[in-house]
Amino acid sequence: AQSVTQPDIHITVSEGASLELRCNYSYGATPYLFWYVQSPGQGLQLLLKYFSGDTLVQGIKGFEAEFKRSQSSFNLRKPSVHWSDAAEYFCAGLNQAGTALIFGKGTTLSVSS
């Protein structure tokens, strides 16, 4: 069965430090993968997506993600975290029918000063 796994439930990073949030997927064919962020009181906002081509994807707010087929991973990175990045982050993949998103459980990011 298709699945998306986010191994880390909660991560704390110091402001200005680098960030990497992990995401693994279980798919047959080339997956369509996404990262969303949800800030308190807000809806889910799309950070970036991967369909094909360049495996390093640039997104909004200074985020990037790298698709690694050999590791079945699509980790989200940011070189320098800001306090406003504190939020919950969701990795998701499009189901094989192409009709719905399959989400991971989410990773809550806290930023310490």
């Binding site: 807000q42 998701a92 009709t99 719905a100 989400f103 989410g106």
Partner: protein
Amino acid sequence: EAGVTQFPSHSVIEKGQTVTLRCDPISGHDNLYWYRRVMGKEIKFLLHFVKESKQDESGMPNNRFLAERTGGTYSTLKVQPAELEDSGVYFCASSEWEESTTEAFFGQGTRLTVV
């Protein structure tokens, strides 16, 4: 441009009561999706409308849940009667083309608590 709007933002009801959640998609978006996040679990797909037609309702948990999208504009999701396990956050999303689930825009969610 207004985003996806959901009403109410919070709802607390007693077990056995009925609750209706509403979603107003972005104007012109034919595709409308409902998702749900039960506490501690993943966000899970419930169903997908294209205009007023249900394209996929494979994620609906049981027949206590009824979704409608009359006229292909806003959608409602009714839970009747509500059970404790229905508590969670219900998200609505909309997108312009069926193939572009990836461009789905999400609302802020409705937090439903059944006591």
